[in-house]
Point group: C2
Chain length 145, copies 2
DNA sequence: CTTCGTGCAAAATTTTTGCACGAAG
DNA sequence: CTTCGTGCAAAAATTTTGCACGAAG
C-alpha cells in the first residue's frame, strides 16, 4: 500500500490533463476505491464517502464513476441484476470469484485463465455454480463499416 | 433444427412435472428462445411474442423468463447496463463474443476457454476490447455455514 | 472572473408486485 | 370446479438529467 498515494497522484494528474476539477468529493471517491478490497457497489461507495462528506449526492458518485471508467482507472464488474461492482485497484480485466451467497468478490489468479472451472474449484475451495467468460470487442462486420 | 420440437417437448414436460400450466403465451415465449440465434433481450422476446399474441404483457415475459431461468432452460447473459440477454439454445455457460458496436452476440468455441484474448482475436476476427471471466459459486466460508 | 462540479429534485428506465378475470387441468 | 397465469396498472428500484449555486483554477 506504499504506492497507493502514488497511484492517487497519478490519477489526479491524469484528471488535470483532462482539465477536470480536483474536488474533495472526487478525491474521496477515488480514495474509497483505492482503499477497498471488496469491489464496492455504487451505493457502498456513496455510503463511505458520506462518512467524510455527508452532503455528497448519489448523482455525484455516478458521474464520477462514469468519469473514472472513461479514463480507465476503475473496472466495472457487470452483474445480471444491475447491481454492478467496481474494482479500482486492478482496473484491467481479470477473473473474479464471486460468492453467490454473500456476494463477496475476490480476485482470482490470472494464470488460472487457462484452466477449467473444475480446476478453479480445486484451487480456490469455492463450489463453482456457474461462470461467465465474455469477450467484448468489435466484430469483423463492424470493423469494416 | 430437427430436434427443436423435441427440445420444446422436453421443456414442456419439465414444466408439467412442476405442475405449471402450459399456456399459449409460455409456448410462444419458449419458441422465440428456441428459434433465436441472436441472444434476445426481454424486450425483443416481448416484441416477437406480440406478433402472434398482441395482448401479451411485458410482465408475463418477465415472469416466464424467471421461470425458465429457474428450471435451467435459458441462460442469462448479464450486462453491466442491465440490458440482459438470453440464450435458450445453449443453456449452459459458455463463452460469447459480444460486439460493443452492434451488440451482436455470437457463441464462441468452448475449446477457446483455455486460450488468451489475443488468440480469440486471431481466430474470430473480432477486435477484442475487453473480456469478462466470472466464476459464480459458494466461497469456502459460506460452505461451512 | 469564468467555467465546471455539486446537490437537489425531477425524469426516465427498467423490473417487480397486487389484483381481478379468464383459462388450464 | 379449483387453482394458476395473464394483463393491466401501480409501485419499486435504479440510473440519468436539468438547473442554480458554489467552488476550483
Amino acid at each position: 500500500m506504499a504506492n497507493m498515494q502514488e497511484r492517487l497522484d497519478d490519477i489526479i494528474a491524469k484528471l488535470r490533463l483532462r482539465e477536470c476539477r480536483i474536488t474533495p468529493q472526487r478525491i474521496a471517491i477515488l480514495k474509497t476505491f483505492l482503499h477497498s478490497e471488496e469491489h464496492p457497489s455504487i451505493e457502498q461507495v456513496h455510503e463511505q464517502v458520506k462518512v467524510h462528506f455527508p452532503t455528497t449526492s448519489l448523482a455525484t458518485v455516478y458521474k464520477t464513476v462514469t468519469l473514472l471508467k472513461e479514463i480507465g482507472e476503475i473496472l466495472e464488474i457487470g452483474f445480471a441484476d444491475g447491481r454492478n461492482r467496481y474494482d479500482g485497484n486492478r482496473p484491467h480485466p481479470h477473473p473474479h470469484l464471486i460468492c453467490t451467497r454473500c456476494k463477496a468478490i475476490v480476485d482470482s489468479d490470472p494464470s488460472l485463465l487457462g484452466e477449467m472451472a473444475a480446476e478453479v474449484e480445486r484451487v480456490s475451495g469455492y463450489r463453482i455454480e456457474s461462470h461467465q467468460l465474455q469477450f467484448f470487442g468489435v466484430c469483423p462486420a463492424c470493423q469494416r463499416s
